[in-house]
């Protein structure tokens, strides 16, 4: 097995420089952020499930300039996902019920990884499962594959663990609501990889800080905060739920205040970095998350209205940093008055 730390530091050399949009600014800004052993060139990533594995957006987005690409969820077995309708728009929001449709880890490694390897931005693989063992096997399989293939770029720079999935062993309650389960899961996964391990939290809990502390105790390198909020729309003419599964996950600007509040709470509860997301559409939204305590951010639903949103967000952060004389983006999280 190769040493991922070493691989990572090789990649960091390539990535550590400022991204294209900053290169020609002539300003001495430090936009890079560190998550575990990984240095992201800038704090603006694209959120899991909203960007596929990258290819679909190739013609619209300068992907190499992203701070990170969080892939669509990968599960052990292929999943077809939920029956349609899977989407419904809500006031400044979107409910989705995709059901983790994905080709499964084998096909992911065979068909998606090669294109991910060509990216200059860090790639974080989002992992989901129905049992603890599911998660473990996905990561074992990926690590084994990376160790066996010799290539300049691993194409995978870390993991984001989606603990909002229903846990079949616990009667369908999600992992993410039980601090003990989260700690145990994190701890198990920590044994399997030295790549950055990010636990992505669900906001549908009484005390998100408690779950974040459990992830930290389990050995997580960072927390992503937040996943979607449970929501429902009913078609009053058809008298049935607008999406086939009844309830789904609410995202977009509507939930931004919920995400900022959660980030603020989690940021105070743990010492590992927090990656903020939920409803970010412009730089000001992203800076709210950074001021609330996040080290980095992700843009999800906003991509659907404007695929340029992530890089506009990055440009706006740079403009704000210059205006407020902030040298390093990682200082913003300490600046809230």
């Amino acid at each position: 097995m190769k040493n991922p730390e070493q691989e990572q530091s090789k990649k960091n050399e390539i990535l550590a420089g400022p991204p294209p949009s900053v290169l020609n600014l002539g300003y001495d800004l430090n936009l890079s952020v560190r998550i575990g052993s990984l240095i992201m060139p800038n704090p603006v990533g694209v959120a899991s499930g909203t960007f596929g594995y990258g290819e679909e957006y190739d013609e619209l987005v300068h992907i190499d300039a992203l701070g990170a690409l969080y892939t669509k969820a990968v599960t052990l077995e292929p999943r077809e996902g939920n029956p349609p309708p899977r989407l419904v728009e809500t006031p400044m929001g979107l409910i989705n019920s995709i059901g983790l449709a994905n080709p499964g880890v084998e096909k992911f490694l065979r068909e998606k990884l090669p294109s991910l390897r060509t990216r200059l931005c860090p790639i974080i693989v989002n992992v989901a499962g129905s049992t603890e063992d599911d998660y473990i096997q996905v990561i074992e399989r990926i690590e084994a594959h990376l160790a066996s293939t010799d290539s300049g770029r691993p194409g995978i720079d870390g993991y984001e663990i989606n603990v909002s999935c229903p846990n079949v062993q616990k009667g369908g309650m999600s992992f993410g609501i039980d601090p003990r389960l989260v700690e145990r899961l994190t701890h198990s996964l920590r044994q399997k990889t030295s790549r950055p391990l990010i636990i992505k939290l669900s906001p549908n809990v009484t005390d998100i800080a408690e779950i974040a502390r459990a992830a930290e105790a389990g050995g997580a390198d960072a927390i992503s905060c937040i996943n979607t909020v449970v929501g429902m729309v009913i078609d009053t003419e058809k008298k049935k739920p607008a999406i086939a599964m009844g309830t789904g996950g609410l995202s977009g600007p509507a939930i931004r205040p919920i995400g900022v509040a959660a980030t603020y709470k989690v940021g105070k509860a743990v010492r590992i970095p927090v990656i903020g997301l939920g409803g970010i559409t412009n730089a000001s939204d992203a800076i709210q998350y950074l001021l609330a305590g996040a080290l980095a951010v992700q843009v999800g639903t906003a991509l659907f209205s404007d695929p340029r949103a992530p890089l506009k967000v990055l440009d706006g952060i740079i403009e704000w940093m210059k205006r407020h004389s902030v040298h390093s983006v990682s200082d913003i999280r300490f600046m809230l008055r």
């Binding site: 596929g52 957006y57 619209l60 669509k72 899977r86 728009e89 449709a101 639903t301 695929p307």
Partner: protein, 299 residues
């Protein structure tokens, strides 16, 4: 595929709640093909609409740019055309746009209708607002009278709702006018063409074709039909059945709520006939009728 700000050239009513929009098309972008679509994000919406998603629309026509004879300068840009129905906040916002204003477009998206195979006759069936892409396809396939190879069959709720016909309706593309003159119609209320659905009109034509076998127009009548369709879910389910019963090729353009429009989110799926799901935006919107479980999508 590209995201660009298009200048709106035409935006006017062509029937009750129906609008015809045209916008300038970038000279260096490949022309859209029948079946393909674009997504638009209007800049202004009514208060408390709270919409965030782009809205998808099919192309209903395309006019090439015109280039000066003596120079290589454009004398007129290319225009993409669409026909849309005002239904909710997004289309109301679109309908309020003035010619000359700027609209955020991503295009061209999705796949296109395949050409009919040799020896096939294109039967192009549109229902309601689904006529847009059908007009585009009919134009490209040179649809005309019954004697021509390709024919167009359009279904409406009532004669009053047929575009370009009412007194207040503006004119559309000249080619649409010609196509409509030669098209076959069905209306739910029987006020024009065959009373009933598009399928009823097709059944009538089908019978006619069988009757003609062995007669003078034998050649034409014996051609296999290739059915093209776009319209409401129940219409497509019914046409799929019709095509299957009569063993004809069929390709339909489908609709589904969309988020990304480019295949990334897996939000816009329809149930596949072989199990699993297909994405309307990236695997379609045009599907071989046999690949989709149309019944399951009619609720």
């Amino acid at each position: 595929m590209r995201q660009f700000n298009a200048t709106v050239a035409i935006n006017r009513a062509i029937a009750p709640d129906w609008m015809h929009m045209a916008f300038e098309w970038p000279s260096d972008l490949p022309a859209p093909k029948p079946g393909q679509f674009f997504t638009a994000l209007p800049p202004v919406v009514e208060l408390r609409a709270g919409t965030i998603l782009r809205r998808p629309f099919a192309f209903a026509g395309f006019e090439e740019a015109q280039i000066e004879k003596d120079s290589s300068m454009l004398s007129r840009p290319a225009y993409a055309h669409s026909i849309y129905q005002v239904r909710g906040p997004g289309t109301r916002a679109l309908a309020s746009m003035q010619p000359g204003s700027s609209l955020d477009i991503i295009a061209p998206l999705g796949n296109a209708f395949p050409y009919p195979e040799r020896g096939e006759r294109a039967i192009i069936a549109g229902g309601g607002i689904g006529i847009g892409p059908m007009l585009f396809l009919a134009e490209q396939l040179g649809a005309g009278t019954y004697a021509s190879s390709a024919i167009l069959v359009l279904g409406f709720r009532s004669a009053l709702l047929i575009p370009f016909s009412g007194s207040f309706s503006a004119a559309g593309l000249p080619s649409w006018k010609k196509l409509l003159e030669k098209a076959f119609f069905s209306t739910d209320d029987g006020s024009a063409g065959t009373p009933g659905t598009v399928r009823d009109a097709l059944e009538a034509l089908w019978l006619q074709a069988s009757d003609l076998k062995g007669s003078g127009t034998k050649n034409l009548a014996q051609k296999k039909w290739h059915l093209y369709g776009c319209g409401p879910g129940p219409m497509l389910a019914s046409l799929a059945q019709f095509a299957a019963q009569n063993h004809m090729h069929a390709h339909f353009s489908a609709e589904q709520w969309m988020a990304c429009g480019v295949g990334a989110c897996h939000g816009c799926v329809l149930p596949a006939a072989s199990g699993g799901f297909l994405r309307v935006c990236a695997d379609g919107p045009v599907f071989d009728a046999r690949t989709i479980n149309w019944e399951a999508n009619v609720q």
